[in-house]
């Protein structure tokens, strides 16, 4: 079982492996760059958390961070 983005400690970098359980929001996450294989870095952990990906910074509420599986 892969950990989720919500479980990564601040400062850690990982690759997105999958998205699950967020239907409409999953699609938006993907459109904003959270596709499989994308390198993400947790800048701030919490509600909401702050993620760096593809040269940009995106903030996600906890439910969404839990929907992003990383490995």
């Amino acid at each position: 079982m892969h950990p989720t983005l919500a479980q990564l400690p601040a400062g850690r970098t990982a690759r997105v492996t999958d998205l699950r359980g967020c239907a409409e929001s999953c699609q938006r996450l993907m459109e904003m760059g959270f596709t499989r294989g994308t390198l993400v870095e947790v800048l701030l952990r919490g509600t909401p958390s702050l993620i760096r990906l593809r040269h940009g910074r995106v903030t996600l509420s906890a439910e969404l961070a839990q929907a992003v599986l990383v490995g």
Binding site: S25, R28, M32, G33, L50, H55, V58, S61, L64
Partner: protein, 740 residues
């Protein structure tokens, strides 16, 4: 280029620098109006510098589309782009070409939307923004190679370079001259392409034959995304076929609908394409920490962040009040003088009265809002341009989550401190309808600037000279703070209640981009402020003006000439017995009091017989438990035009000066035996919660497209105001504030 006008849409991600480019090209000479075919406002403007185009070229009209991350819309604001771009109805004003703004510092993510737009197959220019920043960080982009890969002209469109418009104009001419672009769809793999190509082509033809998607090049992916409501007879069978094919092909993830899997495959295909073809062209050194990262370290810090946020908000309010105050007094003086001058210059009669008390007063009560609105929106535009508002939404998300809203509701509620109407309009960035409607319904509870004159008058009259909290501040200042607090707390509580009852839903998921910090240009801020002020004058102004005139009529008619004549005779008799100028002071004063009292009586007798007087009398039994007297009751009706009208209405009915600074009005209120601190508190609480603004109801109607929600707004606000005032009044009486 045969048309007389070439319509070009400027599209791109939020924060990509779209509006900045639009302002640069149009010199801010835009017109805001409903875009034909859609009911949402869109900004349009002519390309200013015609000399950049060859002689005989058509004029270029630019359309500033709202920022979007995808053509598949998640918010009403994003939906605008799709509706405009897919509008191919005959005679439509759909854009013939596109300028897609792409932020090079965020190249991959910006190109995702750009690729979707390229799939539309219209002549397109890609304008790269933030190239100066890329250079400053030591990065490079192979611009020519990018143009080859994308198959359209790509230009450096950095903000502060005077040559940017020329480069764009050349590229636009080049794009228009290029032979019709072929369909460039990005397929996940050859197998999908083989399976879907034929069907996608037929779908595209079908949509084209209906003149949806002007060139018929809505991609296979897009076809699968179009909202169910937009399925038309011609495409319905094809869509069924598409669904069947998708169900056969996209079966990898059990539990996820095939069409969703297909959509995801399309998204991944685009990003894979970008990673393969474009990423190698960009050389961006992975610098240890950018300037924005360093600033964010403080701004988003768990302790320093909220403190900085509070300080920023405090400064914002300080600037709003201190800055607007002198302007507001000037405006009030000017309109008062204009009214007096007109009243004196024109012959007496109903027309004079309508002009002075209806129209001039009405226009005045609209204009008086503008200083605060202008200052607040200048500050908001500055903070937004810097990138701070996104951080504020990030910080406020936790607070908003408690009542079931998310960070994106923060800016609309903040704007509502100036006026709920622009606040309500700015909810369009909120994705889910229920979240958006809750924000719209509670925004009118935020303390807008129209309540301030009423607060100022009553607080100054009944509380000002009394110290509070051990003499640190006086009661009036404390009271003002409490009233703001009460409105905000009421808004949050109502949001929570609506979430639990009428507009249920889970906590809205927040996905928000934090753009890099950047100092906005002064002119971009100025254009934003101007647009907001014009928008307010148009939307709210017309309603406020109309209501003022209507209420003027209700406060004037039906007239009672015999009553007026009787009082006028008494007044003139009294005038004849006036003591000489050198009479003892006491005699002059006594006579003056007599005149004032008679004038007051005349006013009451005349008003009583008007429509407003009758309605005021009729509703008085309902308002009496709140401690309201007949003057207040009539004043409340008058204040339906605009809240601050209560002040002038009271002034008139007490026959004294009619602004909140007026010593006469304060004295009259203090000396009225029916008024005391308890009734003042009751009125103040009423003004915090009550529905008193038809313009707001109009804005709610427009944004929710139904009369149901404005009706609910009026209902709940009235009920809330009554209950809250009743509790406050009884509480104040119990505390012994009912005495003189």
């Amino acid at each position: 280029m045969l048309d007389q006008i070439l319509r070009v849409a400027v599209a791109g991600n939020p924060n990509a620098g779209k509006s900045t480019l639009f302002n640069t090209l149009t010199h801010g000479r835009e017109k805001t109006g409903n875009y034909p075919g859609i009911t949402t406002e869109a900004k349009r403007g002519l390309w200013h510098d015609l000399s950049l185009f060859p002689a005989g070229a058509p004029r270029v009209e630019l359309l500033d589309l709202p920022g979007a991350y995808s053509l598949h819309a998640h918010s009403p604001e994003e939906a605008v782009s799709y509706r405009v771009l897919s509008d191919g109805a005959p005679g439509s004003e759909a854009p013939q070409a596109l300028i897609v703004v792409v932020d090079v510092m965020n190249l991959e993510r910006n190109l995702f939307y750009a690729l979707q737009l390229l799939e539309l197959g219209r002549p397109t220019v890609v304008a790269l923004s933030m190239t100066d920043r890329l250079a400053a960080q030591g990065g490079t982009l192979q611009l020519q190679r990018l143009a080859e890969v994308l198959g359209v002209p790509v230009v450096d469109a950095r903000r502060d370079d005077p040559a940017t418009p020329k480069r764009l104009a050349d590229a636009l001419v080049q794009a228009m001259a290029a032979p019709g672009a072929e369909r460039r769809w990005i397929w996940p793999d050859a197998q999908v392409e083989a399976s879907f190509r034929d069907l996608a082509d037929r779908l595209a033809e079908a949509t084209a034959s209906e003149r949806r998607g002007a060139d018929g090049t809505l991609g296979w992916w897009l076809s699968s995304q179009v909202e169910a409501g937009e399925i038309s007879p011609a495409t319905a069978p094809l869509r069924a076929e598409l669904d069947a094919l998708a169900a056969r092909y996209f079966t990898g993830e059990p539990g996820v609908p095939a069409r969703d899997q297909m959509a995801r495959a399309a998204i991944e295909a685009r990003y894979a394409w970008i990673d393969r073809k474009v990423a190698p062209l960009l050389d961006l050194p992975a610098s240890a920490e950018s300037r924005s990262d360093r600033i964010d370290r403080v701004v988003t810090h768990p302790v320093a962040g909220p403190l900085l946020f509070l300080a920023t908000m405090g400064l914002l309010f300080q600037l709003m009040f201190v800055g607007a105050d002198p302007l507001i007094s000037r405006i009030e003086e000017a309109f008062g003088a204009l009214g007096r001058w007109l009243g004196g210059a024109l012959p007496q009669g109903p027309l004079n009265d309508l002009l002075v008390n209806g129209i001039v007063a009405g226009v005045g009560s609209v204009v008086v809002f503008l200083p605060q609105i202008a200052i607040l929106f200048a500050l908001l535009a500055f903070l937004d341009g810097c990138g701070y508002l996104a951080r504020a939404a990030f910080l406020m998300d936790r607070v908003m989550a408690r009542v079931g809203l998310h960070g994106k509701s923060f800016v609309p509620l903040l704007s509502s401190f100036a006026c709920a109407i622009p606040g309500i309009a700015s909810t369009r960035t909120i994705e889910r309808e229920n979240d958006r409607f809750i924000t719209i319904l509670v925004a009118p509870l935020m303390t807008c600037s129209a309540r301030l004159p009423v607060y100022a008058l009553l607080l100054a009259t009944f509380f000002s000279d009394r110290p509070a909290i051990g003499g640190v501040i006086n009661q009036a200042a404390l009271g003002l703070f409490l009233l703001y607090f009460l409105g905000t707390a009421g808004a949050l509580a109502m949001a929570w209640l609506l979430r639990k009852t009428l507009l249920p839903g889970s906590r809205p998921p927040l996905i928000l981009e934090l753009p890099p910090y950047r100092l906005p240009r002064a002119r971009d801020v100025w254009y934003e402020v101007r647009e907001r002020c014009i928008g307010f004058a148009k939307d709210a102004g017309t309603v406020i003006l109309a209501t003022t005139i209507l209420l003027w009529a209700a406060m004037t008619y039906p007239r009672a000439p015999e009553v007026e004549a009787r009082f006028d005779a008494q007044l003139s008799a009294l005038h004849d017995t006036a003591p000489a100028a050198d009479a003892p002071l006491a005699a002059v004063a006594a006579h003056r009091v007599q005149v004032l009292r008679l004038q007051q009586e005349r006013h009451h007798a005349v008003t009583e017989r008007t429509v407003a007087g009758r309605v005021g009398h009729f509703i008085l039994p309902v308002l009496r438990p709140l401690g309201f007297n007949e003057q207040i009751s009539i004043g409340l009706i008058a204040s339906l035009a605009a809240r601050e009208v209560l002040v002038s209405s009271l002034g008139v009915s007490y026959g004294v000066g009619d602004d909140e600074e007026s010593q006469g009005l304060r004295m009259a209120l203090r000396n009225d035996p029916r008024m005391n601190r308890a009734t003042a508190i009751s009125i103040l609480v009423w003004f915090v919660f009550a529905f008193q603004c038809f313009a707001t109801a109009g804005a709610v109607r427009r944004e929710t497209r139904s009369w149901k929600w404005p009706a609910l707004l009026v209902g709940y606000q009235t009920l809330l105001a009554w209950v809250a005032s009743f509790v406050a009044y009884r509480g104040a009486l119990w505390l012994g504030l009912g005495g003189p």
